[in-house]
Structure formats: structure tokens, C-alpha cells
Symmetry: C2
Subunit: 189 residues, 2 copies
Amino acid sequence: MELLKQRILTEGMVVEGNILRVDSFINHQVDVLFMKQLAQAFRDHFAECQVTKILTIEASGIPIATLTALEFGVPLVFAKKTESRNLDENVYQASVVSYTRQRPYQIKVAQKFLSSKDRILIIDDFLAMGSAVTGLCRIVEEAGATLCGVGIVIEKGFQPGGNKLREAGIDVYSLAVVDELKEGLIKLR
Amino acid sequence: MELLKQRILTEGMVVEGNILRVDSFINHQVDVLFMKQLAQAFRDHFAECQVTKILTIEASGIPIATLTALEFGVPLVFAKKTESRNLDENVYQASVVSYTRQRPYQIKVAQKFLSSKDRILIIDDFLAMGSAVTGLCRIVEEAGATLCGVGIVIEKGFQPGGNKLREAGIDVYSLAVVDELKEGLIKLR
């Protein structure tokens, strides 16, 4: 998506550890009017899939997932990362390793919000090693729901997550793919 | 707001520790079309305030804050709870105690996203002791920005957070106020 690519090149910063920082419009400050256009791109791509629910993981995936759910007119479910007294006892769960945090954690979804009749579209802001999305896929599978595909704002094409998912037959639709982050430079596909 | 009250009475559950669980439409599964109506109520109430940014805290405040930002046509900024390598070094921060988690944590906002020219509307899903919102207010003050007010989906009227903020002269607008949670029953104002 051209508009997104321009914005990544203009506002994105490469920080220590080859992390792409896009905190001015995606994952700290959020340009919601811009993100709405990205949500429309997801809706266009997955229009024929009869999506019944959008699934994401807290926290930075929630803005784009909320706007995508609004475009489809379906509920959003976000997997929880943290222990809370305010979560149902019956959960689906999976273990995830965060690239930016570098430690494993459990993600959980209350079983009552996913059923075998659901057709799920997973949405997230970033895809790198694919651990979070793979965890969400496992939860969809455990629930017996149908996975329609995965919509990603920015995929790091030099990390294996996207291709591993595609090789498993999943429709992974990334709005921008970063091919290289090097010495402060961002190379987009 | 009548529609919200009905929904809390129909779907809300009181669980151990006097916690109101509304995870079927607000903070785990999210009914985004319904939440859009709540966002419109915030826009109507704060319409004359010349809001420039919506401020919330991750994670469960993000859906309603995203939709409210969309209604106002302004950016959303969400304060971060967790340590991450992907956060700017120059941050405003405040200490917060969570009612459902019962331990203190730091919330952080990159300084570059709040300026003295900003007119901030704080949005959150719940207000009980008011620790999170008070932390956000402190960050707004530290940035020298103007606080337009606070929009809350559900206020626990039997806990002191809302009134403490009102006594400090802040316009706190809650769409529903719970006056009592007792033996599984929810009493709304």
C-alpha cells in the first residue's frame, strides 16, 4: 500500500536491535483516520471470506483491529497477555515470545468467545518471527473455528514469520513489507 | 446512557472480589458497533472543547479510545504499561495501582506526543479508585497540555475515583455509574 510505504519512509526510525519504530502513527500515537484506510484495505482483501470475528492480541494490535472490526461490522476479540482476576476461567491459551520484549508469555482467550461456527480474521500491527500470530492461529484451531487469514500492517520480510505462515497455507496479507533495516535505513519491498 | 445500562444489566456478571465483568462487549470481546455509539456520546458531550488528542492507557481502554478519536478526527495516544525496547527514551511517567491486578506499575508516554498546545480528552473503559486516570492527568499536567475532561464507559460510584477527580474541578463524564455490586446483583444509578 503506497500511502503506508511513504509514511514508513518519512516517519519510521530504526533503533537499536534492528527495531523499526513507527510510534508516531501506528503503535504509541495512532493516526486513526489513516489507520481507517488500512482497515478498509483489509476489508477489501478479505471481503468474500464471511468473517464473523476479528482476533488480535493486546496491546498495540488493538487500534487497527478495532477499526477493521468496524469495517466488517463484526465483534473484535483481543487475546490477553497478562494475569488478571477479571478473566474467565475457561480459556484457550498459547505460549508466545515477543521480539521487542524477549521473554515468553501466555496469551489467553475466553472459550465462550470463539466457537466452531466462527470465521476468524487475525489482525496485528507487526509480523516478524510470527510467534504472536502463530499463537493466535493455534487458539483458532483449538476452538475449531475457521481461519480466514491474517492481516498485517508491517511485515518484516527478512524474518521468517510471514513465510512460515504462508507455507502452512494461510493467506497472509501485509500492507507493507520491510526487506532490510540497516544502519538507520529502511528498505521496503 | 440507557442502552449501555440495559446491556450491563443483561450481560454483566459480578465475580469474586466485587469485580464487574463485561467481557462480552467491552473489554475482551468488543462490540465495536455498540462502542461506536458510546464514542458518539463522548463526542457530543465534549464537542465544544476543541480536543486535539485522545489519551488512554493500554490495553482495555484502547478500543473505546480508538473509536472516540475517530469521532473527533484526532490522533489517539495510549500510555504504555510495560517495559519495551521500542519506546522513546524521553517519557512522561506516573505510578499507577490496578484494582484488578493489585500491584503498582509505571505508565509512560513519549514526550514528543504531548505538547503545551494540546487539548487532551482522557478516555477509559472503567473508573474505580481512579489511579490510572489520575496518572494520566499527571502526565497531561507535566506536559503543560490542557485537560478537557475525562470520558468513562463505566464508573464504580461506590469507589472514590470519580468524585476525587470532580472535586479537583475535572469534567468527568461517565456513561453508566454502578452504585452497588452485591451478591451477584448490579445496582445502577
